[in-house]
Symmetry: C2
Subunit: 305 residues, 2 copies
C-alpha cells in the first residue's frame, strides 16, 4: 500500500531520495581518495555499502527540502550522518562490545577484516564524515557559519553526550541506579538513537537557513521520531525474522539488554510506540510540510505491524 | 642548558605555552559536560590528563602567535589536536592493535577501564575534538570560513589519509610490496605522525589569517618536523630508558615494526634525523619567527642525544 498524504506520494518520494543517497554513496566509494591505503578503504566501503534504510541521510535531505533548499546540495552532510552511523555499528559489533557477527544480513566488519582493521575502519569513517561534510558543503558554496553549526551538531550527536554516551549506558558501564528501568531505557534511546536522528534533520534545516524557533521544532520532532524508532527496533528484535531485519533476532534479549520490551513487555512497548509517534506528529504539525513528516512517522510504525 | 636564540628564551616560551595547555585541559576536565555519563568521562579524562609533551597543541599556539594572533584565542583548536592524538593512542594500545599496557608511565586506558570502555573513550574524544573546537572557536568570534578550514584540516589528518591510514600501514595490513623498506617507513611516518603535526601548525596559522603561500610553507615545515620527530622517537625506542620515555622500551623492535632504526640501523637513523631536521630548518627560514621554529627543531633533536 502506498502512503499518499493529501495527494503526495510519500513512498515514491522516499524511494527517490534513498536512491539519491545510494548513488552518492556509490560515487564516493568508487574512487579511493589519494593517499588512502587500499585495504583500509575496502573495509570502510564494505560496511558503508552493506545496505540499510539510509534513514539518517534521507531525513537530512527531507528537512533541507521542507525548508526550501534543493536536496542534492546538502548531500555531503547527509552522507556524513550515514558514515557516523556506520562507524558506530562497526564498533558496536566488535567482540569487546556486543560481539555480533551478522549485520544487515552480512558478516560484520571484524569477521571479514579482523578486529584491528574494523576498529580502524570505524575511526576512519568517523573522521571522514567531518572531512567530507565540510569539504563538500564548502564546494557547494554554503557559508562557513552554517557549515560550522551543522558540523558541530553532528559532532555533538556522535560524542560523549550522544552515541558514545548512549553506548556506555547500554553496555551497563554507567551507574544509573538512581533512575528506574523505564527512565533508563528512555535515556539510552535518547542518546544512542534520538540525538543523531534529530541532528540529521537539524543539519538539513540549518543548511536551508531555518531560524532558531524552527530548529527547535525540528529537534523536538527528531528526538520523538528517534525514540519511536528505537521502540520499534526493540519490538522487531523479538517479533521480526532474521531475513527481514538483517541481524541476529533476539540478540538484545539474550544479552539481557535493557530494551523497551524487556522493561515494559511487548504490549507496553507497543503503547510507548503509539505515544512517541503521537508526540512526533505533534511536532510535525509545527514544521513546514507536516504531511511529509507525519508520513515518515507512519512509515516507521508500519515496520512493526 | 637553556636555548636562547637571538635573545629569545625558547625554553621559557615552551614551558609557558605548555602550562597554558595544561591549565586549559584541567579546566576542561574539571567540569563534566551536561548529559555526558560519568564513567565514560572518567575514562576520557584519565588519558587526556596522563601527561605527555603536549607537542601538538603547543605547535598550534606557536603558529598562531608567529602569525600575529593572541595564542589563547586558538586554545579550543589546540586542545582538539591533543584530544585526537590521545584518542589515537588509546586505540593503538588496545589488545587487538599494539597491545601495550604502559603509556606515559601509567597503565593504558583499557588496563584500567576495560577494552570496551577504552574503545568508547577513544571514539568520544575523537568526536569531542570536533565539537569543542568548533564551539570554542565560534565563542572566540572567528569566522565560520576559518573554522571550517582548520577543522577540515584536523579531520583530514585524523582520517584514512592521515593517522588511520598510517596505523593500517604500520600494522602491516597494507600491501606495500612495491615500495622498498626505506620508502615504507617514511610513508608510515608521514601519515601516522607528520600529517597531524603539520595540521596543528596549519590550524594555528589558518586562524591567524595566513595566506595560501604561507600555509604551504607551514605545512612543509610541519611535515619535515613530524618526520624528524618520528625518527627521534624510533631512536629513543632503542636507546631510551623506560622512566624517560614513559612507555615500554624496545617494544617496536620486539613487535618487528618497520622503524627507522630497524631499516637503517641506529647510525643510519641518526643521519636521517640530521637530514629531516635540516629540511625543517630550511622551511623555518620561510616562516615569520624562524628563530622560534628552528629552536623547536633543535629542542626535538636534543631528546635523542
Amino acid at each position: 500500500m502506498s502512503a499518499r498524504v493529501e495527494g503526495f506520494d510519500f513512498d515514491g518520494y522516499l524511494a527517490s531520495r534513498r536512491s539519491w543517497v545510494e548513488e552518492a554513496l556509490e560515487r564516493l566509494c568508487s574512487s579511493r581518495p589519494k593517499r588512502v591505503p587500499s585495504r583500509l578503504w575496502s573495509a570502510m566501503v564494505y560496511s558503508l555499502t552493506a545496505g540499510g534504510k539510509r534513514l539518517r541521510p534521507v531525513l537530512c535531505l527531507m528537512a533541507a527540502e521542507a525548508f526550501g533548499l534543493e536536496g542534492q546540495r546538502v548531500m555531503p552532510l547527509a552522507l556524513a550522518f550515514e558514515m557516523i552511523h556506520t562507524a558506530s555499528l562497526i564498533h558496536d559489533d566488535l567482540p569487546c562490545m556486543d560481539d555480533d557477527d551478522l549485520r544487515r544480513g552480512k558478516p560484520t566488519n571484524h569477521v571479514v577484516f579482523g578486529e584491528a582493521m574494523a576498529l580502524l575502519a570505524g575511526d576512519a569513517l568517523l573522521a571522514l564524515a567531518f572531512e567530507s561534510a565540510i569539504e563538500g558543503l564548502m564546494a557547494n558554496h554554503f557559508s562557513g557559519e552554517l557549515i560550522s553549526l551543522a558540523v558541530m551538531s553532528l559532532a555533538k550527536a556522535t560524542g560523549p553526550s550522544g552515541i558514545c554516551g548512549g553506548q556506555s549506558m547500554d553496555m551497563g558501564f554507567e551507574d544509573m541506579g538512581q533512575l528506574g528501568p523505564d527512565r533508563r531505557v528512555m535515556e539510552v534511546a535518547r542518546s544512542k538513537t534520538g540525538v543523531l536522528i534529530a541532528s540529521s534533520l537539524e543539519g538539513g534545516a540549518i543548511m536551508a537557513g531555518a531560524d532558531e524557533d524552527a530548529l527547535s521544532n525540528v529537534r523536538g520532532y527528531g528526538m520523538a521520531l528517534g525514540k519511536a524508532f528505537q521502540v520499534a527496533d526493540d519490538i522487531l528484535d523479538v517479533t521480526g525474522k532474521v531475513e527481514e531485519i538483517g541481524k541476529s533476532v533476539g540478540k538484545d534479549q539474550a544479552q539481557g539488554k535493557v530494551t523497551f520490551v524487556a522493561v515494559h513487555g511487548l504490549q507496553g512497548a507497543r503503547e510507548i510506540l503509539e505515544e512517541t509517534s503521537g508526540e512526533a506528529k505533534e511536532w510535525a504539525a509545527k514544521l513546514p510540510r507536516p504531511d511529509m513528516f507525519c508520513a515518515m512517522v507512519d512509515k516507521l510504525m508500519r515496520r512493526t505491524s
